[in-house]
Structure formats: structure tokens, C-alpha cells
């Protein structure tokens, strides 16, 4: 009988303990609306924190104490009264989440692939690499190298059939620019309201050279074709979409403005004479390209408190 009494006592104690645990978890549920109330607008920040990277720890530990709702309220309205404090992660749900990605002091290696878009007669596929160093989070300097592969368009073939004319064209071989860039626009979007993704828009200008080669109007006289080194100025805008702490998806449109030389109308005996009498023209070579950016170091630390 005594043993039974002990057993029942242990049983009651355990049940009471479990019941207390349930009562504590109730606070977490009550607190959720408090956080929601402060998430106004399309980018409601409290909820973003909850669902995003910074909110992950909070969601794991919401059911740890009954004093948490008060702490959330305090953050919003200021402390009303002295309450018991704990080291609880309701603090991880913040009104304004921090930027998801910091670039200052980091280097970016960005392979790219693109296509020229504004020439009716010849298009170029471009493959290249950007190397950028970020002086601050919004300002960078860098180098870009490009290698081009040409393709004649249908229009280049039709112009002979339809008008009995051949086109004066140059192909691009390769090029390089020194770039400076700035980030004026930073944003975030919700992917079907399930996850928050951060992005930015940049503007840059570069100075460099593009190496081009004449495509002879008469294919039999390609030996008279010559090569140029064309001074190039390259303004552009682009975007980075931040995927991880060290990886971005990049997209850009850029105008490579170059002073190129074309095959003269008159027929000259060799490439040197032909080049000396070449016609110069300013060319706008618009190019769109996409790529990925890989950052070193691969990690970053926030320097300011949340």
C-alpha cells in the first residue's frame, strides 16, 4: 500500500510537471499577434524576420517562457514596467531586419555570359569575367574581361538577296575595362509570399579597350582585313540577387561605346593601306549578360548592433 502511495505521488508529480510545461507554451501563442500588429505594409518587417534567415532561431524557441510577449511589446512601445527578463529569442524578431548580404571589404569573382542586342547584321555572344573589390557596401572598383564569338544575322544574309548589297561589318575579338560602380537602389521581394529575397541595382562606368577585326565585304579578300584597338567607354546598370552569404545572381545591360574603324569603300592593295584609309565611326554595342558572383571571404560579420 505504501508503495502504491509512492507510485501515485510520483505519477502526480510528473503530471503536474507536464501540465506546467503546457501552461508556459501558451504564452508563445498569445504573443504572435503582438508581433503581427507591427508588420504593416507590403514588407511587414516583423513577419519577415520570422520567416527569413534572422527569424529562424526565434521560431525554434518561441515556446520557452511566458515573459516573451511582454518583451516584444516593450521593443515596440518602450518599457512600461519592470518585468522579469530572460535571454529569450523573441529578441530575434526585429522590426527592421538587417541587410541580408554585406559586401564591403570583400572581392567578387563573377563569370558572365551575354549577347549583343542592337546590331541588325551581326550579333556577338560574349563570355567574360568580372573581378570587383568593394570599398564599401555601395561602392566598388573592378576589372572586366570579355571574349566574343560572332554570328551573322538573317538580315545580313538577306541584304544581298533583297537589295544586291553587301554589309560593312566588324567582329569583336576580346576586350577589357576598368570599372567603378555604385549601388543606388536596394530592395527585397517576396517569392509568392513565402520567402524574402534581397537584391540591389547598380550603376557602373568603365574605360578600356575592345579589339575588333574587319570582316571583308569580299570573302576572297579577307587577307586585306585589319584589326583595331578601339578605346571603349562602358556605362551600364545591373542587378544582384543575393542567394547565399557568398553567392549572387547577376544581370546587367551595358553599352560598350567604342570608336571603331571599318573597311573603306575603295579597294586597297593591303591591310595596312586599307587601315590607313579606314572610316571611323562611334559604335554603341549594347549587351545584356547574366552570371553569378562568388565572394571572398565567403563569410561576413555585422559591425553594428541589431
Amino acid at each position: 500500500m505504501k508503495r502504491l502511495a509512492i507510485s501515485l505521488s510520483v505519477c502526480l508529480a510528473l503530471v503536474a510537471s507536464a501540465a506546467t510545461g503546457h501552461a508556459k507554451r501558451g504564452g508563445g501563442k498569445a504573443a504572435a499577434p503582438a508581433a503581427e500588429e507591427n508588420a504593416g505594409g507590403e514588407g511587414g518587417a516583423a513577419a519577415e524576420g520570422g520567416a527569413g534567415k534572422e527569424g529562424a532561431p526565434a521560431s525554434e524557441s518561441l515556446d520557452t517562457t511566458e515573459s516573451e510577449p511582454g518583451m516584444v511589446e516593450d521593443e515596440i512601445t518602450g518599457p512600461k514596467a519592470q518585468r522579469p527578463t530572460t535571454t529569450l529569442s523573441w529578441q530575434d524578431i526585429v522590426v527592421v531586419p538587417r541587410k541580408a548580404f554585406l559586401k564591403g571589404g570583400r572581392a567578387e569573382f563573377a563569370p558572365l555570359a551575354g549577347i549583343t542586342v542592337n546590331d541588325n547584321l551581326i550579333r556577338h555572344y560574349v563570355f567574360g569575367l568580372d573581378f570587383n573589390y568593394f570599398l564599401t557596401d555601395a561602392l566598388w572598383v573592378g576589372l572586366q574581361g570579355q571574349y566574343y564569338v560572332k554570328q551573322l544575322t538573317t538580315q545580313a544574309e538577306l541584304v544581298g538577296l533583297q537589295f544586291n548589297r553587301t554589309s560593312t561589318m566588324n567582329r569583336y575579338l576580346y576586350g577589357g575595362t576598368f570599372n567603378m560602380g555604385y549601388v543606388p537602389v536596394y530592395g527585397k521581394f517576396a517569392w509568392v509570399n513565402r520567402s524574402i529575397i534581397h537584391w540591389e541595382i547598380w550603376a557602373a562606368v568603365g574605360v578600356g579597350a575592345t579589339f575588333t577585326e574587319v570582316i571583308a565585304r569580299d570573302p576572297a579578300e579577307q587577307n586585306k582585313a585589319f584589326k583595331n584597338t578601339a578605346l571603349t567607354v562602358a556605362p551600364g546598370i545591373g542587378t544582384r540577387i543575393f542567394l547565399t552569404d557568398w553567392l549572387t545572381f547577376n544581370f546587367a545591360i551595358r553599352d560598350y561605346i567604342l570608336a571603331d574603324k571599318f573597311e573603306p569603300i575603295m579597294d586597297y592593295p593591303d591591310a595596312a593601306t586599307s587601315k590607313a584609309n579606314a572610316e571611323s565611326a562611334l559604335v554603341n554595342n549594347f549587351m545584356i549578360y547574366a552570371g553569378i558572383g562568388m565572394y571572398l571571404p565567403t563569410k561576413f560579420t555585422y559591425k553594428t548592433p541589431r
Binding site: 505594409g41 507590403e42 520567416a51 537589295f163 548589297r165 527585397k188 517576396a190 509570399n193
Partner: protein, 275 residues
Amino acid sequence: MLNKHRFALLIALATVSLPLAAQAQRKSPLADAPAIRKRFELRSTRFEAGVGAGSTLNQDYFHTITINVRLAFHITDWLAIAGFGDFGVAQVSTGFQSRLTGSLDPAGGGNVLREPTPDQAKASLQQISSILGGQLEFVPFTGKFSMFGKLFASYDFYAFGGPAVVNVKTAGDPGRKCDQAAPASDQGNPNPSRYYCEVSGPKFGPTFGAGFHTYFGQGVGLNVELRDTMAQLNPAGRDTNGDGLANNDDLQWTHTWMVGGNLVIFLPFTAKVSP
């Protein structure tokens, strides 16, 4: 006595294990929650109407400047049905066209019968009168951006697709429609009309592309679209298949790229707020 003892222990274990099991099944209240709460549903069940302007891109002979009209109903925050009309108001010669026609001999091509004079070349060049169509729009991206850390605005990106009709005309009067028989032409009796014809009227095809809205408050926004409309066209109005004459067999599926911007208003003027 032993049985009673075991029975008590069983009760104790069952009582303890039930809440533990319940705890294991509990999920965070933020799990599966929407990424954004209390967001302005700037599109859901709202009408959108807008006017603006646009231009064709990458045309061979003429850039068409258009006045645009747009109407849409957003069935949900991420799905809309829309109609648009882009009406050509100006035709701007491209640099390629100017250089090409400038290189042609006004006296003709001599013994190369297909070579036109500048006037003959211009006569059959195609221009776009209007593009009309309907489209379904899918809005997977919505968000906010800041400019210089000072200006803040909501925006969305969308992709669209649907049917469209491109109405085309020629820059001049070629004197023969492409569905009419081409006259004979040879060195003894040259007839330039064999080599060019009039492509005009409605041409049907798909339209697709992407666009975005950026909002000034809840009721007014800027809408920008990049659109590709495909149709069977012949921009030069001349032989494309190499059979030595111009007719409807020379029509080819052609991409017409356009970019346009509209100032749009949304009705009702205020947006709902999500839970």
C-alpha cells in the same frame, strides 16, 4: 499488490508520455506562415487602367512610336487578366535603313533585276500600325525598394503571355499585294514589281514578356513592360526564300520587341490588407 504497482506505473507513464508526444507534434507558430503579414494587397481583386507610350526595339527599317492603353483585372494578388492596345503614332527610320537606301542607285541596278531604286526599296518596307492583344499575367515577385536610402516604394514583377494581332502597312505603295500573282521579269522585259509587294493587314501570333509596377501610394503606379510579339511578317516586303519573286511565301515568323511605360490607376483606390 504487484499488479497494483504495475498498474500505477502504467498510468504514470501514459500520463507523462501524452504531453511529451503532443509537444513533439507542436510546430512553431511561424512555421508555414506567410513571409509577410499585414501587407497591402495592391493588386488583389482590383481593376487597373493605364495610358502611356512605347517604342519598338531592334527593328530593321522603322521604329514605331506608340501610344499605349492598358486594362487589367487582378483576380488575385498574383494572377491577372489584361488587354492592351499599342497604337503607332510615328515611324522613325533606323540608321540601317537610311544607310541601305542611301547606297542604292536611283537609276536602278542595271542588269541585276532584283536591285531596287531607293523609292522602290522604301515603298514595300513594313510599318506597324498597331498591336492589340490579351494576356494572362503571373506575379511571382512583390516587394519594396529604397533609392539612395531615402525614397521607398512597393513594386512587383510579372510575366505574361497571350494572343495578339499585329496590324501592319507599308511605307509606300508597292502597287501589288503579296497575295497577287507576281509578274514575269527578265533581262529583255524587266519588271521590278516582281521583286516587292505589299504586306498589310492583321497578322496573328503570340505575345509574351515581362513587366513591373512600381507604386506611388496605393492607387497610382508606373507600369513598364518588355514585350515580344511574334507574327508572320516580311519587314522588307521582298524575297526572303530565294525563289526570285516576292509573295506570301516570303512571310516569316518575326519577333517584334517593344518597350512601353504606362501611368496606371487601380480601382478601388485603396488596397486591402492581408491577415
